[in-house]
Each structure stands twice: as structure tokens, then as C-alpha cells.
Symmetry: D2
């Protein structure tokens, strides 16, 4: 009897990037149970291969008969195995939306040509707008923050614990308060002092910095400056802000003060993509927490802060997982 190859046990860092991944890990777990003497190498190889072989296609087009069948047949006929599929129709706009994810292992079309083939065979004919992603892409996120630090700490904690598959090349702030925190986490810190005179210039420098570092998306983690038009346009649909109120209630400044004065019984937070109209961008996620007449403005701020960091982190996760699709100022958030 030949001995199976033996290796040191290896702890694998497996990003929970995809529902897909979980599916694979689960099957691996079962396999491991059955073949405990089999060493760890084959598992490792298989995961590596699979991790680099998922595709995500998000599309929308005018609704008509047979779209699901046409797209799934395209994938299936070319050797792709559909891992998850979600579709939606907006009846008022008569628009069809779909997110489909498939395993590329046996897919006969090379990755770099999928978009071309899909466009020629299906996309153009059905007047589709589509985006294609691959699972092994690691997004680069820039973090903007002013003085309140709770969202910053939550994001850094999750990032440091490996909860998200992203890089954070730097932190930007209009204050120096959190320079030390950035240093503790080993992340470069860029300070841009902002005032009425230098704002446009400083923003131009920020845009240049983001582009130079190939930043994929920007998170405003309680960054208290309004983003100018050129910045918004340069990163359209890729800037996530957290507003400390349940929008559209309390648009603008000092929402907790106004919530206190209005005597509301819940305070909330809203994560949204930034557009030119302040606090009007498409909403990704919202949540609330109960308050009472006993709670001062300071207490509303503290309770709201817990909601803000949760809501922002959920929105970031959805964005990283390529599960958000914006249409007419509304965000489809796929499961």
C-alpha cells in the first residue's frame, strides 16, 4: 500500500468573498472528514484554482421575454457552472436586472474575451448595460475621515482581522487627530488642510493621489467635508458616504440635534453613494436604534454612532462583493 503524501497542516486564510467560496469550503470540509490521512496539499491546490475562476456578471436592460434563458444558456453551453443567480424586474421602469455568478474552471471562453463575446452575442442585441467582475480581484479602498473615529476604528478592525478582501493604501483626513491611529495600523496618512480658498486645489491633489494609487473606491467614514463636482465625477458610483440620520429625514448638518428637538423615538444612519446633490445619492443600507426622551443629544450621538459603523460596514461589504447595482437613484442590493 502506498502512503499518501504527508504535509504539515496549513492554516489557510480563505476570504469570505463569495457565497461561492462558502460552498466550496463546505464541500472541502466534507472531503477532509472522509480522507483525514490524505494530507492537505490537494485541498490547497483546488482552492487556489477555484478562487481564481469565478465570474460575476451584473446587467440591466429593457424587460422582454426570455432574457434569463438566453443568458444562462450562454454560460451553460460554454461550460460554465452557474453558482448563483438573482433577477429582478422594475415594473414602473420596465427594466430587467440580473446578477449571475459562475465557475470558470471549464468555461471555454478565455477570461479576457468574455466581455467581448457576451457583448456581441447578447448584450448589444438586447440593449444591455453590463459589468463583468472576476473573483480574484482585490479592491483598493481609500479611507477619508475627519474627527469622529468610531467608523474608522470599525473599518480598520475588520480589515486587520481579514474580514474583507481589500487593500487600504492610505487614509486621508482634513485633521491630524487620527494620524497616530493610522500609524498603529501601519497605514500611510495624508493630511489635507482644507479651507474656502484652497479647497479646489486640495481636491485636485486628492484626485491625483487616488488615481496614482489606482484606488477602486472611496469610503467617507464620517468625513465632514462636501465633495466637489470634479471629485464626484472622477469616482462616480464609487464613493460611499455614511450620513448620521435616517435619510431623507434630517438632510444636512447636525442631524442628532434636530432629531432631539423633533423628539423622534428612533435615530438612524444611511450609507449611500455620493452624487452631486448633498445627501440625495442612492441608498445602499439603513438602520435605526431606539431612543427615548431620556436621551440627550450626546446620547443620541453615541447610540447613533453604533448604527453608523454597522451600516457603513454592511454597505462596504456589499460593494466589495459586487452586489450593488445603481439604477435611477435606487440601489439594487442582491443577496
Amino acid at each position: 500500500m502506498t502512503q499518501p503524501p504527508r504535509f504539515m497542516p496549513v492554516v489557510l486564510w480563505i476570504p469570505s468573498f463569495e457565497g461561492m467560496t462558502r460552498r466550496l469550503l463546505n464541500s472541502l470540509d466534507r472531503q477532509a472528514d472522509k480522507q483525514p490521512s490524505n494530507g492537505i496539499l490537494p485541498v490547497w491546490v483546488k482552492i487556489t484554482a477555484l478562487m481564481q475562476n469565478f465570474a460575476v456578471l451584473m446587467l440591466n436592460c429593457p424587460d422582454q421575454k426570455g432574457i434569463v434563458a438566453v443568458v444562462t444558456e450562454f454560460i451553460s453551453r460554454n461550460g460554465g457552472n452557474i453558482l448563483s443567480l438573482e433577477q429582478h424586474v422594475d415594473p414602473q421602469a420596465n427594466e430587467f436586472f440580473m446578477r449571475v455568478q459562475w465557475d470558470l474552471t471549464d468555461f471555454v471562453i478565455p477570461k479576457e474575451k468574455i466581455s467581448d463575446y457576451f457583448g456581441t452575442l447578447i448584450g448589444a442585441r438586447l440593449h444591455m448595460r453590463w459589468q463583468l467582475y472576476f473573483a480574484n480581484e482585490r479592491l483598493r479602498m481609500a479611507l477619508f475621515v475627519s474627527k469622529p473615529a468610531h467608523c474608522l476604528y470599525d473599518i480598520l478592525g475588520r480589515w486587520h482581522a481579514g474580514e474583507w478582501k481589500i487593500d487600504i493604501p492610505f487614509i486621508v483626513s482634513n485633521h491630524l487627530d487620527h494620524q497616530e491611529v493610522a500609524q498603529r495600523f501601519g497605514i500611510p496618512f495624508h493630511h489635507f488642510s482644507m479651507n474656502a480658498e484652497n479647497r479646489q486645489d486640495q481636491e485636485q491633489k486628492q484626485i491625483a493621489l487616488l488615481q496614482q494609487h489606482h484606488i477602486d473606491f472611496v469610503v467617507l467614514a464620517r468625513y465632514m467635508m462636501i465633495i466637489g463636482r470634479p471629485f464626484v465625477e472622477a469616482f462616480s458610483g464609487r464613493i460611499i458616504n455614511i450620513h448620521h440620520a435616517f435619510l431623507p429625514a434630517f438632510i444636512g448638518a447636525k442631524p442628532y440635534h434636530r432629531a432631539y428637538e423633533r423628539g423622534v423615538k428612533l435615530v438612524g444612519a444611511t450609507a449611500h453613494y455620493v452624487t452631486e446633490a448633498l445627501d440625495e445619492g442612492p441608498i445602499i443600507e439603513q438602520d435605526v436604534v431606539r431612543v427615548s426622551h431620556r436621551d440627550s443629544v450626546e446620547e443620541l450621538t453615541r447610540r447613533g454612532g453604533d448604527v453608523e459603523k454597522l451600516v457603513l460596514s454592511r454597505a462596504i461589504r456589499r460593494h466589495i462583493e459586487r452586489k450593488t447595482l445603481v439604477f435611477q437613484n435606487r440601489v439594487m442590493v442582491f443577496e
Copy 2:
């Protein structure tokens, strides 16, 4: 050995009006366990006595030292047993608030003179505004409704099941749709057709009807007419409305349509006292429910409807229990 008096077992309808009541019932339960052969009469007598002997005092005044001690001493020195006490200070307004409830069984001041004594000895001196209630008062509620029926059904179900200690002398509507429902529950139904010409006259008749039946408070259970100034003034602080949105978001008409267009991820409802400014009255209770891009306006309306009826019923309960105190457009809701 003398035989204890024996009576037929009696099922008592005990309103859950007060935390106090629960306390008594619990002690009675324990007593009943110990003396099962003792008949039911002593219990009945004791409950009756106690039920008619609670007082609730709600007050507010400029904050200063020693208010709690002065009030509790007044109650205690005169033989009252404090059953619950809650106080609150609004630091911005520098105003003190208090709700105290005590057992009148051994209280030496007669019920009808308590307010007079309290005012002379304490209230006037400390510039208090106060309200005194007694536990055996049964409130009379008028129910206004238009077409949506979910709040109406919820209220009638709770009332019919004895959940609230109130009378509903009649239902008012500007439509005839729910006349049959009123009949099924044996409640008189008054129809007031309303249009631009007759509105003021009709409201005068409504006010007269309410006053003639000694109505204590009015519930607008999705009543889609704006209440005029004379009506609001006649029942100031005694009209509860349910707005089908999380105020101050979506003030005014068609909130679910606007929530859909804004792409919010939660819809809510707000119960508030009616003031002249539409949807601006002091908020008693709010809650929300999660929705997604998959939900049409119709589905938002349905999910929101479940929240509306819950929120309105919670607000009614708080009002009946004398746990709401309005100050500067904010509602203190005592526990």
C-alpha cells in the same frame, strides 16, 4: 372550627392598567396557592378596593433641589404607599418631570381634595403644572377611520378581547365602507360625508357629537382628512394620529410612493398627537420594517401597514395608561 365562607368561583376581568395591578395580582396568586379552600370573596373584595385606590400624578416644573423628596414625603407622610416613580430632567430647558403612582388605601386626604392640597402645599410654591388621575377611571375613545382598515381591525380586536380598559361609544368615517364592520362589533357608526363646502359645518357637528358623548380622546386610525383648528383646540393633546411614514421623513401625502422613489431600505410609521401644523405634532411612538428594491409600492404599503397598526396600538396604550406627558413638542413616555 369555623368554615370559611364559600362562593361560586368567579372569573375576574382584571384590566392590565397599571404595573401596580400586576403587583397585586401576583401577590394574590401566591395567596390563592396557599389558601385554596378559602373561597373567592376576600380576593374579590381586596381587588375591588385596591383597584379604586390608585392615584397617578404627573407633573413638571423648573428644575431645582429637593423636588423628589418634597413630593414623596407629601405622599408618604399622608399614608400613601408609592408604587412606582419615574423622574426626568430636560437639561436644555432646565425642566423637571415626574410621574408617581401610589396606593390610596390608607391615604388620609380624600380623593376629591388631593389636587387642592397638593396645589396649595407644593404645586403653586414650585410653579408646577400637574395632572392627577385615578386608576378606576375608564376612558371613552372615539375612533375615526377612512378607507384603509388594518388599524381599525387591530383596535377593535384588542378592544373586543379586553386588552384595553376603554369604551368605544362610536366610530366616525367620511366613507361608508366600514359601516358593516362597526355593526359586526356592535358599535354605532356615524357617517360624515366631507367636501370643501361642508367641511367646517361637518366638523362642528363632529365636535358636538364628541362632547355630547363625553369623549376623552380621539384616535385617527388612518383617517385621511385634515383636522381643522377648532377641532384640534377642543381636544388639544387628546387626538392621536398615525402617519404612514417615519416622520419627519415623507411629511404629507403618498409617503410610500415617495419612499419607493427614494429607494429607502426601511419604511416606518409614527403615532403623534395632532397639532395644527400637519404631521408636526409631538411624537409618541415610531417603528420601522426592512424593505428592499424587490418591494413595489403596494408591498411597501402592506409591510408598512403592519407597522402602522402596531405603532398606533402602542401609542393608544401609553395614552390610556397615563404615561405620556407633552412638553415643548416632545413626548415623555414613562415606563
Copy 3:
């Protein structure tokens, strides 16, 4: 110019049975806006036609490549228009699940032959278990209740307001308390007094009654009797119960008493399909509400009651909409 046909305006009762229906209604609404002078008849005809032309297919089978494509192609190639589709893979069981809904208007396979064709062409080959429903089927629900009435009132209110597309041929109870309520709503009431001796006989009579009236599913709306094995088997997967606790916490009797003693900070409710093992059946829906040390057992019961009725009604809705699929004691609840 010929005048379009004119009819009296007709109020249509349109069940909100399907996301599909909403989609159609929305398009109809828009059409109506454009042609207000056109009378109501064409709309009516169109709705009737469409309402009878939806099919829902729910299936599960061992997971493998290409299932989605095969099923959607079957529908699409035969003239069906897919209205919604949701799929799921249980990686631990390696099982594939799918719910797909399509418009039958131009579908070339007759309704009565769809199941046969699907089985021959796809189902048998892929080892599927499947269920096929049509949108115009109106389910018949039997309502069982004991003494607590809040769920009963909530269900009758929703049914009476037309929220659900069901018939309630009768109410069954082991007590006489709610006979009058049944009469108020015009529903026959069957009383079965139950004790240790007659229980098996009475249950046989209940089963006969249910079968005689062609009951599709049974709702135990706080029915405090344990259902025997023959009953469960006769209506397997078609009996919904509401348990007044957040299962699996507080299985069995007096959950609110035990929740009080344990000092929990939330109480909840669980709607589940009934199986032979008490309180162990597959869970359809759960929710909770916050409580505190101030709340007595009575107050926990009251707050929990609000959650019970909401949770049960949500579960009933999901069942009526054919959105629940049981597999290995877990319920898939499709969106």
C-alpha cells in the same frame, strides 16, 4: 370616430398573490392614466386572462451543472415568459433548490400537461422532486384556536379586509369562548371538547371534517392541544403552528413564565410546520421584541402576543404565496 365602449366603473378585488400581479397592475395603472376615457372593460378582461395564466414551479434535486439553464430553456422555448426566478444551493447537502414563475399566456403546453412534460423531459432525468402551482388557485384554510384570541382576531381582520386570497370554511376550537367571534365574521364554528379519553376519536372527526371540506392547510392560531400522529400525517407540511417563544429556547409549556425567570431581554415567537416532535418542526418565521426587568409575566405575554400574531400572519402569507419549501427540517423561504 367610433365611441369606445362605456361601462360603470368597477372596483376590482385584485389579490396581491404574486409579485407578478403587482407588475401587471403597475402596467395597467399606467395604461389607465393614458386612456381615462376608455372605460374599464378592457382592463378587466386583461387582468382576468393574466390572473389565470401564471405558473409556479418549486423543485429540488442533487446539485449539478446546468440545471438553471435547462429549466429556463424549457420554459422559454415553449413560449413562457419568466417573471421571477430564485435558486439556492445547500452546500452541505449538495442539494439544488429553485422557484420559478412564468406567464402562461403564450405557453404552448396545456396547463394539465405541464407536469407530465416537465417530468418526462427534465424532472426524472435530474432526479427532481417538484411541485407545480397555478396562480388562480384559491386555498382553503382551517383555523384552530383555543383561548388566547389575538392571533384569531388578526387573521380574521386580514381575511375580511381581503389581504389574503383564501377561504376560511370554518373555525375549530376545544372551547366555546370564540363562538361569538366566529358568528360576527359569519364563519361556521365547530366545537370539539377534548379530554384524555375522547381525544383520538375527536381528532378522527376533525380529520374527516377537514377532508370533507377539501381543506388545503391548517393554521393553529394558539391552539393549545398537541396534534396526534394521524392528523400530522394526513396534513404533512400543511399545518402551521405559532409557538410563543423564540425556538429552540423555551420548548414546551409556559414559555413566558420561564423567560421571566431566566431574565431574558427579548421575547419572541416562532411559526413552524407541525411535525410529530413537539416544537421541533421546520421554522418558517421568527421575530422578537425587547423586554426588561420591569416587565411582569403578564407584560411579557402581552408584548409577545403582538409578535406572535405578526409572525404567524407572515408565515401564512408565505405559505399562501407558495414561497416555502421544506428540506431536512429547514424551510427555504423564497423572496
Copy 4:
């Protein structure tokens, strides 16, 4: 005209330790608005004085007439100003509970003698058990953690941002994984490798370490070792654990795996004081989050993790604020 004293503006770190503090800060804010030219020193002095002059008294005793009046009179007559008061009666145990907080500025009894006087004059006579705290006490918290890091990050973030008024003299772990995190935050890290043989010895060393550093309370932030009896007794009522389930559901190991298998629709977390009976200690705080059949065990773990860290942090806050009182395995959590 004499010039008011001028100082450099000073940013004050004001812990939100008490409802009291908020009240004072609010009045200071208003004062600052009125006297902007007045410098910052008087404010500083006043705050310092006040911060050191609050007392919190928590007590319980058999219920009887007049307790509130006796206690409040004791405070008031001796020059204390009551800042907040909450009382509660457990009717089943016939026990009275109270938390009262007062300003010591003009209190005539010296701090170190308050407990003595209160005991002699009131406590002993009414058979009270009581605890007296002063607002300027800064608690010392020991942090125990194993491998999952999300609670650790959340606690360190809040501590570093100054949200809590505590010291964290060291972190203890049975693993080395988080040594680097401790270093980043500048906190000493003590590693105790634990196995069946050395466990009792290691725990003795842990107890010695805690006592040597005058630790006030211990937080088990996902510390996966069972605490032995001597440890529990040495810090009775002062060890807070987070259990990753909604207790009493899923007591013991692997709760998320079991939640997945049971098919629950919500997962939760429970913060409780540690007693000898595993997962049976008195509950401080609980919360839940919605899950579905689509969520794998890994996803339940991730979603649950967000709830765990929130619930644990809320419990810690309540403990620090001296708002928790344990009686018969239930925790009163005052507002």
C-alpha cells in the same frame, strides 16, 4: 472694567459616564454661548468639582411602605441634590430595588462616612443590601480573549477613542494570535497556555495577576475557556461573558452550527455575568439579527459577530455606569 482671566482654549475630555454629566455639560454649553469672552478656566474648575461630587446608591430590600420617601429625604435633608432616581418592585419576590444618584457639592456628610451613616440610619433598619459608588472612580478592566478578534477590536477602538472611562492594564489570552494587536494599542499582553493538566495552576496565576493589578472587573471577549470555580468566586458578579447565541437557546459549544441545522431565522448574542453554571449566569443584554436559508454557518458566524460585539459593549457600558443590579439570577438594568 476688569478684564476676565484669559487662557488658551482647552479641549476637555469629558467622559459620558453619567446622565448627570450630560446635564451639567448641557448647562455649561449654554453658559459658554453667553459668555464667549470669559475664558475656559471657570468651566474647567466647575466640571472638575462636579465630576468628583456625584454619588450612586443602589439598594434592594423587602418591599414596604415609604422606602422612596425615607431615602430621598435622607439625601435632601443633608444637602444632596437628586439627579436621577429609578425604583422597581419585583412582585413575585416582594423585593424593592432603587438606584439614586445625587450631587455631593453641598452634601454635609463626608464621602467616606456616607455608607456608615446610611447604614446606621436607614439600611440596617430596613434590612437593605446596598452599594455606594462615586463618579470619579475609574474602573480597571482586564480583557480575556482567545482567537476570534471582533469583540477585542471593538473594545479597544472604543477605549482608545475615549468612549469609556476605564483603564485596561493588560490583555490575557490562551493563544498568541493577538499579541501584536495588544502591542499596537500599547497594552501589556499576558499569554497563559492552557491544557487539562496545567489549567488549575494557570488560573491561580491569573487570579493573582488580577488581584495584584487591582482589577475591578473582567471581560471575556470571546475567551473560549471555561472559568473555574475559584476564579468565579474571586470575582463574583464582576466577570462579563459574551455567548454567541440567544440564550437559553444553544447553550454550550458551536451555537452557530446548531442554529444552522435548526433552521432559525434569527441569530443572537447574550452578554451575562459568569456564574459556575455554564451559560446560566444572569443576562445583562441580548440582541439578534435576521438570517435566512441562504446563509451558511460561516455567514451566520459573521452576522452574529456584529451582534456579539455590540451586545458585549452595551453590557460593559452598563456595568461601568453602575446601572446593573443582580438579584436571583436576574439583572436589573437601570436606564
